[in-house]
Symmetry: C2
């Protein structure tokens, strides 16, 4: 009691947030029993020796099996055969979802591979169409608004965590629930950081998007033809500018893929919500003296989002092919 | 006369190869007069201050206008608006082809932009579908073999140069005309080097594909399900290994985007054909003492291939929409 008085904030584990989605997912898997009596099949491709990927695969298998999915890990010894293995799974009607543990080549060839996964089985939401819809705030794949677009699973996990943390204010109308919020996102990769900044901006937030080169401000702009976020360059990266952005923000989200990177705790103002999606912890433990809510890792929420995406893809396919 | 005896090889300019395609292209543009009386319209987007891009744009305009095309350069001051400008051109029926002068962001966001260009107007052939077809040696977009797939324009330009240099042997059946040839390709980018190595391997060559990390050997393999090139790792990059590969090769193709990089002339055996597609010259002038045929730059052939691709796209669209 007295120690919690000294540290007014709370650490929230990803598993706590993830558990919140269990019931909804199990119910939906159950409703698919007539067409998929053995449960939907997710295939994961592992073509590296990364222990983090191995652990992530173990978690995925466990989550799958606890919620009525089947999971099959396919190890590809020679990464030059991964493309053909993916294409085989694309064509295999018994496979409902496909994911790949990246990095495989660790360069632009990985982006090529992401587009090889069939859009209909792309549970990670990495297909170009899904990203383009995200940036333009388009929620459906068809003009009848029947087939739902998929969101890339890590940005989606961060959004779901922010909903759990009540950073999204449900008193505001959907699509506007971050109105007035200011967020820092440290990472501007095409996979997570840039789409995440756009998602938050599209929901009304002001986002400081930080990478090693510069800092940008994403806001909801009206665009030329779309309701699309607007990007403004604030200046080259500097510790001073980063500190200024942090001190102006209610939420700090980190995703720096480096063991040594820690955001200086002094940059963080009292009561900030802090979320780290890197597989390395980008916050020092002292963050707990400042943060109101601190989420040290997000991987388990990402896995649940994968499964949720997979159910959407199955629903889309059933609608498309008349059940 | 005596100096040519001292230097038995020849330098072949890209313009000489490019001119070879002029008549064919002009004839085809002419045959489109009924549907496109003012000529097809190519739109180029420039969102950087790269003088090389500026020069390339000037050349493109000149080539277009000399062959009956219209060319429009659209400058985009704020690169964050480029995506919307491309989408606008995608939707504009009066635009027949679209190209972008890269780099724009100089990172993975450029790969995102490449996929924003509509496949039907992608004269550079950068759409994922075109690359995937290239790797799998698939020539058509449809199962009736009516709509031709597009090849990315720089790899295609190198192939056309190799045909001009008679490295492709027309006594051999099409698809096998590099049988017995050995080639070095220094560059393994997703845009040019890797697809080029695959194209050459698919035509029967043994290709040493070199990047800063390692050297691989591409050969024509049967693959699991496709007639697809096979890739074998030869080892990490070293000068020794590169030299060995060069000395084993009839053709050396360079594409290192660096002003200072020059392949040591001593690596090159007498009578090698040497082609440089980098905008910097990767061969020292002394290459002329070794090379049988030397092509110092390829940009003008690339432009002609752009226009050839554009005509294919127009034909595809006319077939698709019943003229």
């Amino acid at each position: 009691m007295s120690s919690s008085a000294l540290k007014p904030g709370s650490t929230i584990l990803a598993s706590t947030v993830a558990n919140n989605f269990g019931e909804e997912i199990i119910k939906k898997v159950d409703s698919l029993k007539s067409s998929l009596p053995n449960g939907p099949l997710l295939v994961g491709f592992l073509a590296n020796n990364d222990p983090a990927a191995e652990m992530y695969a173990t978690w995925t298998k466990k989550s799958c099996e606890s919620m009525g999915f089947r999971y099959e890990l396919r190890r590809v010894e020679d990464r030059d055969f991964l493309e053909e293995a993916i294409i085989e799974a694309n064509r295999d009607d018994s496979v409902n979802g496909i994911m790949v543990y990246y990095p495989v080549f660790g360069n632009a060839q990985d982006q090529y591979l992401q587009q090889v996964v069939s859009r209909e089985k792309d549970v990670e939401g990495l297909n170009h169409v899904y990203y383009q819809n995200l940036y333009h705030n388009i929620r459906f794949l068809d003009s009848n608004n029947e087939l739902k677009s998929i969101l890339p699973c890590t940005p989606l996990a961060v959004v779901k965590i922010m909903e759990y943390l009540k950073i999204y204010n449900t008193l505001l109308p959907e699509g506007n629930r971050l109105y007035g919020r200011k967020c820092v996102v440290i990472n501007r990769s095409e996979i997570v950081g840039r789409p995440l900044a756009a998602l938050l901006a599209n929901d009304g937030a002001t986002v400081y998007s930080v990478d090693v080169n510069n800092i940008q401000k994403f806001t909801r702009g009206e665009g030329l033809k779309f309701t699309k976020h607007h990007v403004e360059d604030l200046g080259p990266y500097s510790e001073d500018l980063l500190k200024k952005c942090c001190q102006d923000s209610d939420v700090i989200i980190t995703g720096v893929p480096s063991e040594s990177y820690k955001i200086p705790t002094e940059y963080i103002k009292d009561g900030t919500s802090c979320i780290n999606f890197s597989s390395f912890r980008n916050f020092d433990d002292s963050v707990k003296t400042k943060a109101s809510l601190y989420v040290p890792m997000t991987g388990k929420v990402t896995i649940v989002m994968l499964l949720r995406n997979m159910l959407r893809l199955i629903e889309n396919n059933q609608k498309l092919h008349g059940k």
